[in-house]
């Protein structure tokens, strides 16, 4: 695997993600943050939460951008380059990890700084959030490659809804802490997300490795269907 190729491609993916984000940041600042500041409702919980919500958009947007790349022909151009599937997948991974880094740093520093969590706990939360963001990003990219148009967007929406659902459900476990904090409970709760993350990453990276170097807009690579009007 050529490191310079991976870095060059990952820079491209990051640039295409970050460039339009200033509009989202500005809009959120005007619509959400300013009213909170002027109403005096801004507290440490909200500050950390709103900023984390903004920062998680970075890796997620990187995955959603693939839809635009399909439309403007970028994916087809990237597939025409002398770049292997592994290099494509590695570049997506590097981009996702880099774009998740602000979220990790934010949670690891602000949670202890605002006294919301001890440093060790904040570190674990930050790293877990980073891994989850990378995983969602890679799965999003893979789904966009794997499925066409609306189907890919539906799958990605289901994935995001499921992630939010898991976070919400985890809050319901507060009363179960005595059970969870047994050795068996801790091991189970650690292994299940880890296994899920590994399986999801394996699926995502494998799909990108296979599909990125052969992508063509006029074919559904998975079913082998062809758009007849485009010729063979």
């Amino acid at each position: 695997m050529r490191r310079s190729v991976v870095l060059r491609l990952s820079r491209l993916h990051m640039y295409r993600t970050v460039k339009p984000m200033w509009k989202v940041g500005l809009a959120t600042g005007v619509v959400v943050v300013l009213p909170l500041v002027f109403s005096g409702a801004l507290n440490p919980d909200l500050t950390v939460g709103v900023l984390a919500g903004l920062l998680v958009l970075l890796p997620v947007t990187a995955a959603l951008n693939v839809t635009g790349e399909k439309i403007d022909g970028s994916l087809r151009f990237l597939a025409s380059l002398p770049v292997t599937g592994r290099e494509h997948a590695a570049s997506r991974l590097v981009a996702a990890a880099t774009l998740a880094m602000p979220l990790v740093i934010h949670l690891a520093t602000l949670l202890p700084l605002f006294g919301l969590m001890a440093f060790a706990g904040a570190f674990i939360v930050a790293v877990s959030a980073g891994i989850a963001a990378v995983l969602v990003s890679l799965l999003g990219v893979a789904l966009q490659y794997r499925f066409s148009g609306q189907k890919a967007r539906s799958m990605f929406s289901i994935l995001l809804a499921a992630s939010v659902g898991v976070v919400w459900l985890s809050m319901l476990f507060e009363g179960w802490l005595p059970v969870i904090l047994t050795p068996a409970g801790i091991v189970t709760l650690s292994l299940v997300p880890l296994a899920g993350a590994l399986a999801g990453s394996w699926y995502a990276l494998r799909a990108i490795v296979r599909l990125a170097p052969v992508y063509e807009h006029d074919r559904d690579e998975l079913t082998g269907r062809k758009v007849r009007s485009e010729g063979a």
Partner: protein
């Protein structure tokens, strides 16, 4: 024994060596095809829409995995999707492949990071000769200018095989004439580069000195396989292709 061993290796003198190659979709099958292309050859790949021309170009450019048969490019067997082929093989599709927000100069610079033999001086020199402006954005280019950019990149990457996919489709008569002149001058300027030009416009065949003709219809080759001369001496290449296509259609 010796013959058997020979049959297992590609012909080193050929840029492309296809032997009994097939490619299957659920409702479409290309081949079996056998074809040898030597350096400097100019192959006309002719057939109606849906004949399998683009699929064959996809195989030659390393985008498609063959379902059966054997396939060598530049003496190396390719039995899986192999993007490294694209160092030596350039494809000029109907629409320019590039990031449309980039300028022509940025496009060259971007590509230079992916091709080990990239020659930036050649790319700029060719762009200048073809009256291309490096500051123009790709999305602002006409079809004819896009074709010129593809030429520059093919030259700069040092391609040994140049694949054209319907280069004149949708062009007005003047742009079509210019495009074919450009291809003709390229074949003269770089006699060692083999070209394969896929088209369903038979008039295109008169403009370029093709050395070989491959006619496809519904995935099957109508013209003989191999590496011998395929253009009959008494009829022009266009007439030969027309007769084959009409004959296959029962007219």
């Amino acid at each position: 024994m010796i013959e058997a061993r020979r049959a297992e290796t590609g012909d080193d003198r050929c840029v492309v060596d296809l032997r009994g190659v097939e490619f299957r979709y659920p409702k479409f099958r290309l081949g079996p095809l056998s074809l040898q292309i030597r350096p400097g050859a100019a192959v006309a790949l002719v057939g109606p829409n849906g004949a399998g021309k683009t699929t064959l170009l996809g195989i030659l450019s390393g985008h498609r995995v063959i379902s059966a048969g054997r396939f060598w490019i530049l003496g190396i067997e390719r039995d899986r999707v192999d993007p490294t082929i694209r160092e030596q093989v350039a494809i000029v599709p109907t629409e320019l492949l590039g990031l449309r927000w980039m300028r022509v100069g940025e496009h060259f610079d971007f590509l230079s990071h992916f091709y080990s033999g990239w020659d930036m001086a050649k790319a700029r020199e060719m762009a200048d000769a073809l009256d291309l402006h490096l500051a123009d954005r790709l999305r602002e280019l006409s079809r004819g200018q896009s074709l010129k950019v593809s030429f520059c990149t093919a030259l700069a990457q040092g391609a040994k095989l140049l694949l054209f996919d319907e280069p004149t489709a949708g062009l007005d008569p003047v742009a079509r004439h210019d495009a074919l002149q450009l291809i003709r001058s390229y074949t003269r300027q770089f006699p060692d580069v083999a070209i394969v030009l896929a088209t369903h416009i038979l008039e295109d065949l008169d403009e370029i000195p093709f050395t070989r003709l491959l006619v496809l219809r519904e995935g099957k080759a109508l013209s003989p396989s191999g590496d011998g001369p395929l253009v009959s001496s008494d009829a022009g290449i266009r007439e030969t292709a027309k007769r084959m296509l009409l004959g296959a259609a029962g007219r």
